[in-house]
Symmetry: C2
Subunit: 245 residues, 2 copies
């Protein structure tokens, strides 16, 4: 058995998320179908991040095992030849036998994009959160500082997610403003379910003056999901990078 | 009868063009339906530019006559309340009785957007032409200079378009390169059918070294559509501004 690693991007708009489901078009489902066509055998694909419906990826990583003789680097062009145009393989290659796209990942980076103007909003509604109105970026950055480091992020984890540990290390959480955009970048050793979208939803409350920055520390320490802000919508979220040792 | 002017933007991806058709979802059709709901009477909407299927607008202008008592500036919010989210009215207001969105227009500006990287392309495929590979911008600009001024632009007009005069005045034709994008901006007193897309298709041949800049003058003077380049795809095109006296 050979182990193959794929790096891919997709427009999440037309997918019911990464993970295969009984019904609905999924990234995993579309990939497995293409791989079965290519290798002649059923293939089980594992993704580094199980992105939700409407969430995009610019650097999702997946792995699968195969007995096919196709050279590792040839999977990318071969797959692109039969995949739909909202899913593209950026690179492919052989991976060590123990490599697992999800369990071997040591660090992931997500971005969350907000488009802040009325004009042009129709073009961006599937690929960003459109949000006009003033935001106090200074206050949001002050609040964001409480969400960096090793903490329980349970207050930002969708309830009923079934996870056991809630401690994660956020290495970076930055806000940038290129032109009419606002971009959050979050790097961590792992993410809880809806963690980035709940962090963004909470920081937006701070930006709108409905929470003060110090309250975000209180919310974090409460380990109570109901204290934090709403889950920001899926179309603004991008999985941009997955790193391995 | 009052005369109302609308300025709007739309994502052309989900429309079979501006102009109403026996079948297919059109901007005019969707607008007229919303206006009939709002005013209680059938309304005939005229657009400044009859954009094709897949072509976008950031500043399309339309006009219509109505006996409704709704104040001119209230049409924008009222329409936005019942229009689908891929069509937004940016402003509305009373216009003089003789105003006609198409016939009164003295100048229009289109942009054509090209995304030049493989990475990120899936996000932009409906809103730009994705084109990788080297382009000689210097040569393209030299060629573009032959497509500014008052000339017959028949070589760049879709054949069988039924127009009589082919003389137009192009006031501006520029190429800019913000980041991984290439943006053409064309301003003229009027446009022939497919004119911008045929100009872009021809300039791309120059950029790829398949035509030299001087040949573009020859093509222009030939008044022969078959001499010019192919029609660039619809998703890159935006109607950005319509001007009136």
């Amino acid at each position: 058995m050979r182990n193959i690693k794929l790096v891919m991007e997709y427009d999440g708009t037309g997918f019911a998320g990464f993970q295969i489901q009984p019904s609905g078009r999924t990234v995993q489902g579309v990939l497995q179908e293409a791989l079965e066509k290519l290798t002649g055998k059923p293939v089980k694909v594992v993704g580094a991040g199980r992105t939700d419906a409407g969430v995009h990826a610019r650097g999702q990583v997946a792995s699968f095992q195969t007995e096919s003789g196709i050279p590792g680097e040839r999977f990318a062009p071969a797959l692109n030849g039969c995949l739909p145009e909202d899913l593209r393989i950026l690179e492919s290659g052989e991976a060590p036998p123990e490599f697992h796209a999800r369990y071997s990942a040591t660090r992931k980076t997500y971005e969350y994009l907000i488009y802040r103007k009325t004009e042009g909003a129709v073009m961006h509604r599937d690929h960003a959160l459109v949000l006009t109105g003033e935001l106090d970026l200074e206050a949001m950055r002050e609040a964001a500082a409480h969400l960096v480091g090793t903490h329980s992020y349970r207050s930002f984890c969708a309830s009923g997610s079934g996870v056991k540990g809630f401690i994660r290390t956020v290495e970076e959480l930055t806000l940038e403003e290129p032109g009419e955009w606002l971009r959050f970048t979050v790097t961590a050793d792992g993410f809880l379910y809806h963690m980035v979208r709940n962090i963004v939803g909470t920081l937006l409350l701070v930006g709108q003056g409905r929470l003060n920055p110090a309250e975000v520390k209180t919310i974090r320490d409460s380990e109570d999901r109901t204290k934090a802000g709403p889950t920001a919508p899926a179309p603004g979220l991008y999985l941009v990078r997955v790193e391995y040792e």
